[in-house]
């Protein structure tokens, strides 16, 4: 029994490592006219896919599995991005020149960004999750823009000029580890008693409360850890772009994550992986239609909502997401 479980997790890890090796080889081996198939631009896209997956899966924890409607996820991303960039760049002047110093600082910095984002999540979530209806949507939207305003008016954060000179710590390897660890942690949480409580709150908050679940506490906790992962994603994002600006994290950015989530399928982790992967890579498939990108995306979203309300994946999960069920003894009744 225990063997099967470790075996399953091992299989997932081996598959991920294999995927990494393939991508890495394609970016090194001179396959096409002496050039690698995946140039730096493609690698950057793949890294973005990883970041967007973590953003979308964490948003799905709140919106899809707990049934709340948060629409300001980019605000928490901003908190993480600015916090980590301030630590690595402004205060400690780290660079990628010495990775033995740089990476530990980077890791501490993105975790600090995550924690501060989680704290912001608590401030936003604790009062508004007590209320039912659309309040969470309104408050998260407002908080998103308020965070952006605070960054804009704070000169120490670069204000409206943005913050540059951030060392590029985010590599393909970093994003692989980051995405897999984050998704596995959230997947684990979902497949636990706490995760079942989340779904219970989504299906009927009143019934959840009357089966002894402290629904407010559970909702706030999910919201806070979702903000944490958004914050860490923001840190990873900042150390990819090397320049961040308040406008990177506007309400419009939050909307993009909502599109990824709901087209992929908000009630499935697999959906929250498929959605951002498709939409981040789609412009490449639609070469020449680049200026149509933001016309086509919302149309896909609307059509999905009308014809397949539950998104591409619905309630289904890829088998590597699922936790194996234990065999129950058959009892004849």
């Amino acid at each position: 029994m225990t063997f099967l479980r470790t075996h399953r997790t091992m299989a997932t890890v081996i598959a991920s490592v294999l995927a990494y090796v393939v991508i890495k080889l394609l970016s090194i081996l001179p396959l096409v006219n002496g050039e690698p198939l995946l140039n730096a631009y493609y690698i950057q896209l793949i890294i973005l896919v990883g970041i967007n997956i973590v953003m979308t899966v964490s948003l799905g924890m709140v919106n899809g599995f707990t049934g709340q409607f948060s629409i300001g996820h980019a605000g928490f991303m901003a908190v993480g991005a600015y916090t980590s960039a301030m630590i690595t760049t402004v205060w400690l002047h780290t660079s990628t020149a010495n990775p033995w110093v740089g990476y530990p600082v980077f890791i501490v910095a993105i975790l600090a960004g995550g924690l501060l984002a989680a704290a912001a999540g608590y401030l936003v979530g604790a009062p508004s999750l007590r209320l039912k209806g659309d309040y969470l949507a309104i408050v998260t939207l407002s908080a998103n823009e308020l965070i952006r305003t605070v960054i804009r008016v704070t000169d120490a954060l670069g204000g409206p000029r943005g913050l540059g000179g951030i060392p590029k710590f985010t590599t393909l390897e970093v994003v692989f580890v980051f995405a897999i660890v984050s998704v596995v942690l959230m997947r684990n949480y979902l497949f636990s008693s706490h995760g079942r409580s989340m779904k219970a709150i989504r299906d009927s908050e009143i019934a959840a409360e009357s089966t002894g679940i402290n629904t407010t506490r559970q909702k706030v906790f999910v919201f806070v850890f979702s903000a944490f992962f958004a914050g860490v994603s923001g840190g990873v994002f900042a150390h990819l772009l090397q320049f961040i600006h308040p406008d990177n994290f506007s309400f419009v950015k939050s909307l993009e994550y909502l599109i990824y989530l709901y087209v992929g399928g908000s009630t499935s982790i697999s959906g929250a992986i498929v959605g951002p992967a498709i939409f981040t890579l789609l412009p490449e498939l639609l070469r020449g239609l680049e200026s149509w990108r933001m016309v086509i995306y919302p149309l896909i979203l609307i059509l999905t909502m009308i014809f397949r309300t539950e998104g591409i994946m619905g309630l289904k999960e890829f088998s590597f997401i699922l936790i194996p069920q234990r065999q129950r003894k058959e009892v004849s009744v």
Binding site: F69, I138, S142, S291, I302, T309
Partner: protein, 301 residues
């Protein structure tokens, strides 16, 4: 003192435009419980209609303002009607969330579609002068003056709001709207045609936003891009929530609070002026979750 009054006047001016947009948010929400995010883009659409129609109207009618605003209201009303039919009606009996997400989709679509070069184009456009701007000094020794544009903004908003109150309170369809907002299933059993009522809300709200768009263009003299609706729309939406979403006088009250506080904050720092709306909203919602004039409806067990 003079400075204070000047900011107050500015605030009332921008508040009037917010009010016209906020009314559409609140009407639609009251009737179908949908935050129609695309409403902001209808406002934008109205402003662009002003840009394209004003020269034509000036030629045909001599004067531009009144025919332009009426034409823009008709077109945005039609746009709202079509939008509801195509995007929201198929989702009416599905989850409320899917309608909300569709509204986001419609909003992003309208912005980006209108920004295509063969539609409105993504670039700046100067808005035609619908009236000749003049400054009218206020008698007294404070050195204040008001522009005729400001008087026009406030005047048009007040006229339209009075018309709306009359429409909602005195006409049959207005009374039906209130009945549907109060209790949709019962209203339906009383023989009210829900489809007609919903369509009406999706015509009247957008028409008001269209008028707001014309006033916006006249006031600022330019249209930045088809994304111009996002922030005024968001402010107006917040105003509607602030006043108690679903509540018509609440939306007007919220819009003026929003406009005035924004004018004062902007005089301190322009970035602060932008952010103040959100701070006020969060503050008010924490104290009064249902907004200033809204009623709190507990869920039935």
């Amino acid at each position: 003192m003079g400075q204070f009054l000047q900011q107050l006047i500015n605030g009332i001016q921008i508040g009037s435009i917010y009010a016209l947009i906020a009314l559409g948010y609140t009407m639609v929400y009251g009737i179908v419980r949908l935050i129609n995010f695309a409403h902001a883009d209808i406002f934008m659409f109205g402003a662009y209609m002003g840009f394209f129609l004003a020269p034509v109207m000036a030629k045909v009618f001599g004067g531009a303002f009144i025919p332009t605003i009426i034409a823009a209201m008709l077109i945005t009303g039609l746009l709202g009607f079509v939008m509801e039919k195509l995007a929201y009606r198929p989702l009416r009996y599905k989850s409320r969330l899917s309608a909300l997400i569709t509204a986001l989709g419609v909003s992003i679509f309208l912005e980006n579609f209108c920004a295509m070069p063969f539609v409105f184009g993504p670039t700046f456009r100067a808005f035609p002068d619908l009236i000749v701007a003049k400054n009218i000094p206020i008698p007294g020794n404070l050195g204040l003056s008001v522009s005729n544009v400001l008087l026009l903004d406030i005047g048009v908003s007040v006229i339209l709001m009075v018309l709306l109150f009359w429409f909602v309170n005195k006409t049959l369809i207005g009374k039906q709207m209130r009945a549907v907002a109060f209790d949709k299933p019962t209203a339906s059993l009383m023989g009210i045609n829900i489809d007609v009522v919903i369509s009406t809300a999706f015509i009247v709200g957008p028409a008001l936003a269209g008028a707001g768009g014309i006033l916006y263009g006249t006031t600022y003299g330019m249209l930045a891009s088809p994304f111009l609706g996002i922030w005024p729309g968001l402010k107006a939406f917040i105003a509607a929530v602030l006043g108690g979403i679903g509540n018509i006088p609440g939306a007007v009250l919220g819009a003026y609070i929003m406009g005035i506080s924004e004018a004062f904050a902007t005089s301190v720092n322009s970035n602060l002026g932008y952010g103040i709306a959100f701070a006020i909203l969060i503050g008010i919602l924490l104290i009064r979750p249902s907004g200033l004039l809204g009623k709190f409806m507990p869920e039935k067990v």
